[in-house]
Amino acid sequence: MGSLARYIALRAALIVPSVLILYTIVFVVLRVIPGDPVLAVLGTKSVPPEELERIRERLGLDKPLYQQYIEYLMGVLRLDFGESMVYTGRPVWNDIADRFPATLELAVFGFLASVVLGLASGVAAVKGRGPIRALANFYAVTGYTLFIPWIGLILIYVFAVNPILPFRLPVGGRISPEVGLREVTGLYIVDSIITGNIPALIDVLAHLVLPSVTLGIVLGSAYARLVRSHLREVLASEIVAGYRARGIPEILLLRHALRNTMVPIVTYMGLQFAILLGGAVLTETTFSWPGLGTLLLERIELRDYTAIQGVVIFFAFMIGLVSLVVDVIYALLDPRIRY
């Protein structure tokens, strides 16, 4: 266990340089792009130039770049992500705290949808017949090439605008304010459960359906491939051949085989997390989802330096953390791994 602890510490230490690298890239990129937060908000108003200068000074934009770089970094070490440069006086951390639960909730449900879809089509690709099998195989290989805004729009059209089901699904946002959910964690599912607000729970879930299914369809194909290849491998193995010879029903064999695909699925989750966050940007845009992705896009347009830096650092940190957790789970699940 001592070696495992050391491994965890080492992996954790590696998060620092990668966060630093991304911060540096973003810092440089932001200062190279023409335009600044003051102009982005006030540039087409007849604000006197000396007033613009005064606001720049207040935001610290007149300081030398290295100083801005270091000061922000020092702030982050104290967990202070600075104040927004366009929304005066509002800490960036508040924005992140507002938006992250939304992104997390979408990511978790998108992940669940993708696993469910992936499992189903992975099994169908191996055990299905005729067109179903072909379709499942085709999906496994090409599913991820569906362009998220496109498939999202199609789902909106089919399930909300001209609904083929007897009810309409909500097309945007996380919740209807009418349900009166008291916020505790910001994760609305959790909040509605702990406050015992059943209408809110149902409302929140209904809002989650289309965005998570969109993400699930696009990301599920990776799991389909995963399940498919492992199933094939296991079902073709000698052990299974032996079971089969002993007359064990096929459904039990399938269960046995599926169990074995769980380890790679967990591992893949770690890799998928970044893709999930990236996919979430497009999904969030399509479904008015108030998450970190839309926040980032919105602030890039306004050149809100501190907010963009903060969100990127937070992203990088979360990605590092998730891959750390996954690596540790993996090390625990698979004793053959030695570090």
């Binding site: 590696l14 340089p17 990668s18 966060v19 690298i21 991304l22 890239i25 973003v26 990129v29 190279v32 792009i33 290989v141 090409t142 991820y144 090439t145 569906l146 362009f147 805004p149 496109w150 498939i151 729009l153 199609i154 909106i156 059209y157 605008v161 990776a222 491939r225 995963l226 290849s229 492992h230 790679p264 893949y268 890799l271 970044a274 893709i275 966050l277 990236g278 996919g279 940007v281 497009l282 992705g293 980032l296 896009l297 890039i300 990127v312 992203f315 990088a316 990605i319 590092g320 891959s323």
Partner: protein, 282 residues
């Protein structure tokens, strides 16, 4: 290996299908002036109809958009943008990622560590966000879009090549090459590169499929070409404004073009991987 056997080999069907799709779109791009029924910004309906999108008809199989431009023609012309960006970005990413991966993996040491760390950090970050950031620095153009995609995909090539090099280095053959005192560059070029080449080909297929989607994302946000130049992602972006008004043809066809072209590369990559017997699961 016999020519007719390609379809019979594992993954052969996929490679064939993938290549046909890719060649189809490349042909569209090259022959656009001949194939496209109208110019990309030609007002091809009577002026009084311009202002509302017109549904598909014999003269306009894919309909027209609100300015009266023919959708089919714009898809044909738009293929030029995607093909150029994806080809250019693949060449650039390979040109940077492959040599770096070879050298880094072969020599190891602190340079390798630092490079790997940088590449891993970039790789872990959501590609579309990175591409958007870089593209908005550079401004919209085909060349700049290719550079933004390069930033995203260099780490992909680097990591795969480096991993393969490490595998090869562990082989007993290497030991004998080193004891024979052969120069490093000779070993890399004559022994390692040929063995890495198939991996590069697979990565090319899969990364390009992904690159098409990232390109579409960039152009969806207006970062590849300037309207009214024809471009699938941009047409989809503007077309979506009409979807709820019933003009589905403005969304359906550009979206299909993006997805099918990307699927072509996905089939190619997957098929190649299968041919080499290293079925991919991630």
């Amino acid at each position: 290996m016999a020519k007719q056997a390609i379809l019979a080999r594992p993954g052969g069907l996929m490679v064939t299908a993938g290549l046909s799709i890719i060649l189809f779109y490349v042909a569209l791009a090259v022959l656009a002036p001949i194939l496209a029924p109208y110019g990309p910004t030609e007002v091809s309906v009577p002026k009084e109809l311009a202002g509302r999108p017109q549904p598909p008809s014999p003269e306009h199989p894919f309909g027209t958009n609100e300015l009266g431009y023919d959708v089919l023609s714009r898809i044909v012309w738009g293929s030029r943008v995607v093909v150029q960006v994806v080809a250019l970005s693949a060449v650039l990413s390979m040109a940077v990622g492959v040599p770096l991966g070879l050298v880094s993996g072969y020599y190891g040491g602190p340079v390798d560590r630092v490079l790997s760390l940088v590449m891993d950090s970039v790789y872990a970050f959501p590609g579309i966000l990175l591409a958007i950031a870089v593209a908005s620095v550079l401004g919209p153009s085909v060349g700049n879009a290719a550079i933004s995609l390069m930033v995203v995909y260099v780490p992909t090539y680097f990591r795969m090549v480096r991993a393969r090099v490490l595998e090869l280095k562990a082989r007993p053959l290497m030991e004998s090459l080193w004891t024979a005192g052969l120069p490093d560059h000779w070993i890399i070029l004559k022994h390692i590169l040929p063995n890495v080449a198939p991996t590069i080909l697979v990565v090319f297929g899969l990364a390009s499929a992904d690159a098409i989607l990232t390109e579409a994302g960039l152009s969806f946000f207006g970062l590849v070409v300037v309207y009214p130049e024809a471009d699938w992602g941009l047409d989809l972006y503007y077309g979506k404004n009409w979807l709820l008004s019933g003009a589905w043809w403005l969304t359906l066809f550009p979206g299909l073009a993006i997805t099918s072209f990307a699927a072509g590369f996905a089939l190619l990559g997957e098929g190649l991987a299968r041919m080499m017997g290293e079925e991919r699961w991630s």
